[in-house]
């Protein structure tokens, strides 16, 4: 069993965010005036008790993980901040963009609008868990072959969502793909290539 807690060695990302917070705190103490908006919040945060945490054990990409987290932590934050899985992205944090899509027991859900502690015993798959070693998942291959992205920010959500879609409906029509991928936005508007990639994966061509 793999124990992961907030006390685990800091990742580069966690370290960066901590240094930033510390920086804001120092600025507030030094009274430089550069962090006026942040100052009261930082001071207040220092005064209150640390938040109550709850344990949760779940299987992520086939590995059993246990962590303690604030009950208000979203599944997305737990995956990214506590488990270091940054495949799921935080695009909107309100359910509207699909960048944080993960699979819950094979069903696609949005990890930003659900609490991590609700997933005791559940099986979660993120984009990191799709490939088989160095062999890409057929949907990942199809996205590469069809150039289904530009900047790539939405891509992990698109791919995970497409895997969920093909589990729900293995042979969708083009119109159905457009409709059933509508929860995943792409600001680069790679939509034609995304649809082509999903079509190709559905037909087993990738």
């Amino acid at each position: 069993m793999d124990e992961t807690t907030r006390e685990s060695p800091p990742s580069r990302r966690a370290f960066l965010s901590r240094s930033l917070t510390a920086g804001a705190g120092l600025a507030a103490l030094g009274g430089t005036g550069t962090a006026t908006a942040a100052a009261p919040a930082v001071a207040a945060a220092a005064a209150v008790d640390p938040p109550e945490t709850l344990p949760v054990s779940l299987t992520v990409n086939g590995r059993r993980r246990t962590l303690r987290t604030d009950p208000r932590t979203s599944l997305l934050d737990a995956l990214r901040e506590d488990l270091g899985l940054t495949g799921p992205k935080k695009g909107c944090n309100q359910g509207a963009c699909g960048a944080c899509t993960v699979l819950l027991d094979g069903t696609r859900i949005l990890s930003c609008i659900t609490f991590a502690v609700m997933f005791e015993g559940a099986e979660i798959t993120t984009v990191e868990g799709l490939a088989d070693g160095d062999r890409l998942h057929p949907v990942q291959r199809a996205f590469v072959e069809h150039d289904g992205f530009q900047c790539g920010f939405c891509t992990s959500g698109q791919i995970t969502s497409a895997v969920g879609l093909l589990a729900e409906n293995p042979r969708p029509s083009t119109a159905e793909i457009k409709e059933l991928m509508s929860g995943n936005l792409c600001r680069c508007a790679a939509y034609p290539n995304i649809v082509a990639a999903v079509e190709s994966a559905a037909e087993g061509r990738s």
């Binding site: 009950p71 609008i113 659900t114 609490f115 502690v117 609700m118 059933l180 509508s182 995943n184």
Partner: protein, 293 residues
């Protein structure tokens, strides 16, 4: 902040009785957006997803009882033939990811005038089953459930357990206007149900008044005008009937101007949706009668 995880219904009711300020969570698709954006800081959260019975539905004595935790994707997949109006509305909610988690129970709990399940629940004559540890079960007709903008008849110590509805005996349709075809809050919406056995018409208007509501005058007018027995009439519906039905639906609404649309646009769109859904429903009804004849 307390996070309560009951596994049985009596435990859930006991928790809500003890902490009426606890916010229930089903799919979390409304609750969590509010928490992420700090619109709401509840003293406690009450996770209902471990209460297995809430995710079940059953049919007894010709009535359906659908647990508050059945997600939209299952309403569509498992109940689409029996509750076609609600299934159509469910297909328009958010995105597939939202429909895999979001529930009719949560839509009722939020009681937004724009919630898409409300018009078909009204048109289909659904009844909401709510319960508290102290006072037991109350059966609330959908029409009496919605009290104001995001306000319902639910008391602080009560939880929604299920809704009850009869499987459709006639055509049912739902129509919604939005700025795109996915992920939109309704500018306005309309549901129609024909109940041929009782020669009755059901309607529901969404997003065009402080609460979802029925267009009663339109229902009564149409029930009297339709030639239920001779649905075979080749001419279908008289244009005057269609137009008047549209007007009466539009008059039943009390819309406002807001970011999504003006009151005038909503009234106009409601009349159009009323005429369209009625045309679809009446064509289905006639076809079904032709096949029987």
């Amino acid at each position: 902040m307390a996070f309560l995880r009951p596994t049985t219904w009596p435990e859930a009711l006991a928790a809500k009785a003890e902490l009426p300020g606890a916010v229930p969570i089903q799919g979390g698709t409304d609750v969590m957006v509010e928490i992420n954006f700090d619109v709401r800081r509840p003293e406690a959260l009450l996770d209902l997803t471990r209460v297995a019975e809430l995710a079940r539905w059953s049919e007894t004595g010709g009535r359906l009882r659908v647990g508050a935790g059945v997600p939209y994707s299952r309403v569509i997949g498992e109940l689409g033939d029996r509750l076609p109006g609600l299934a159509q509305a469910s297909r328009t909610v958010g995105s597939p990811q939202i429909r895999n988690r979001g529930t009719v129970g949560g839509n009722l709990g939020a009681a937004s005038p724009a919630g898409d399940s409300h018009p078909p629940l009204l048109a289909g004559g659904a009844v909401i089953e709510v319960e508290s540890a102290a006072r037991g079960v109350r059966m609330i007709p959908a029409e009496e459930f919605y009290l104001g903008v995001k306000r319902s008849a639910l008391e602080p110590d009560e939880l929604i357990r299920a809704f009850h509805a009869e499987p459709a005996t006639g055509p049912q349709y739902f129509s919604k206007v939005g700025t795109r075809n996915a992920m939109v809050i309704a500018v306005c919406s309309f549901a129609l149900a024909l109940h041929p056995a009782e020669r009755r018409v059901g309607t529901g208007i969404g997003s065009a008044a402080p609460t979802p509501l029925r267009a009663r005058a339109a229902e009564e007018f149409l029930a009297a005008e339709l030639d239920w027995a001779a649905g075979l009439a080749p001419a279908g519906l008289a244009p005057g009937v269609l137009a008047r039905f549209g007007e009466l639906v539009s008059e039943a609404a009390a819309p406002i101007d807001d970011v999504r649309g003006t009151a005038g646009y909503r009234r106009h769109a409601l009349a159009v949706m009323a005429r369209r859904t009625l045309t679809w429903a009446w064509n289905d009804y006639r076809k079904a009668r032709e096949q029987c004849a």
